[in-house]
């Protein structure tokens, strides 16, 4: 009886796997049919460039009026020593490593009214906000928030900490 059940069970597993394979083929057909433009771009090696273009367009719409900086521009400001660098990542990421001299201001902190972390900063001081890497939007969100709070010289450094660290520019672990 038990042996019979086992044989039946194995047959059942084979049948289930066959149906699973069929459903997978169905998903492949739907996926290719519905998202052919995405597959086609990836096969041509143009997916990353297309995604970057889409991201830039979306950011332009979503964060209108927020000035952005490239790595070289951010480093130039850093060398002048007049700018305040604001790290918009989480406190844990900030504590691990951050741009030398930067202060930590995650988006949820920037939202708080009368935040002591930014209360002492002159409204006309040059501020450079950054997050983890080029894909993250929180630097733009924090920069937008700071602008709304009345800071006049705010810019978002889009390369983020990753680009800065990879370039070998000064980093720090102190709070």
């Amino acid at each position: 009886m038990r042996g019979k059940g086992l044989v039946r069970g194995r047959g059942l597993l084979r049948q289930d796997l066959a149906w699973a394979a069929f459903l997978l083929v169905l998903a492949l057909a739907f996926g290719l049919g519905k998202h052919w433009s995405l597959v086609s771009l990836s096969l041509q090696g143009k997916l990353t460039a297309h995604l970057e273009e889409m991201r830039a367009q979306r950011r332009q719409k979503q964060f209108q009026g927020v000035k952005t900086l490239k790595l070289a521009q951010a480093y130039e400001l850093f060398q002048k020593g007049q700018s305040l660098f604001v790290d918009a990542r989480s406190p844990q990421e900030y504590a691990e490593l951050h741009i030398a001299g930067a202060v930590n201001l995650p988006p949820q902190e920037a939202e708080k009214p009368n935040n002591p972390a930014i209360a002492d900063i002159a409204k006309e001081r040059q501020i450079v906000v950054y997050c983890a890497e080029a894909h993250c939007d929180i630097a733009l969100k924090v920069a937008e928030k700071l602008q709304a709070l009345g800071f006049t010289q705010v810019a978002a450094f889009l390369g983020g900490f990753k680009a800065w660290d990879e370039a070998g520019y000064p980093v720090d672990t102190s709070q």
């Binding site: 059942l12 289930d16 998903a27 519905k34 998202h35 052919w36 995405l38 990836s42 995604l51």
Partner: protein, 167 residues
């Protein structure tokens, strides 16, 4: 009370134990919930397909052509497996597919964590979260749910027990 009488009483069905139909109903409900989760995740990935492609690329595990293919096909695997599971059609095969997805994703999460990449998990559920222990725990729960339900259905049908049914 004699020993024989006591043994007979011990064999009486325990009224506190849930009946087979209740267990069957609860497990079916669990299956529907699991299917619903995957259907919803698939739907989010389908409607935000370019964002999902970006999330796949961020893992830096697959070449670009494969990342594009995954971003196009994976939402449909989730939609089909999740949707059919909710409807109660081809349940065991859908559970196998879901277990396969969860197992593969578990490996990817562990490898990504070991590489120290701090990226969004791209799970397509109710809120954004980074690759980390929470995402791994969620994935383990889904994997355990899918394998457990499959085992229960497989056992019920292969031994002709209970209302396991045509899956």
């Amino acid at each position: 009370m004699s020993n024989r009488k006591q043994k007979t009483e011990n064999r009486k069905p325990d009224s506190r134990k849930p009946s087979k139909t209740v267990v069957w109903f609860l497990l079916r409900l669990l299956g529907m919930a699991l299917g619903g989760i995957f259907f919803y995740a698939g739907l989010m990935k389908h409607y935000h397909n370019w964002d999902f492609a970006e999330a796949v690329l961020a893992y830096q595990l697959a070449p670009m052509w494969l990342a594009g293919l995954v971003a196009a096909v994976l939402p449909w695997v989730e939609l089909i497996a999740g949707g059919l599971l909710v409807m109660g059609l081809k349940r065991r095969s859908c559970l196998l597919l879901i277990a396969l997805l969860a197992a593969a994703f578990l490996v990817i999460l562990v490898v990504t964590m070991a590489r120290g990449l701090k990226i969004d998990c791209g799970c397509g559920l109710f809120f954004q979260r980074q690759v980390g222990l929470v995402a791994i725990a969620e994935d383990l729960a889904l994997l355990a749910g899918a394998l457990g339900l499959y085992w229960w259905e497989w056992k019920a049908v292969s031994s002709d027990q209970g209302p396991g049914g045509r899956g």
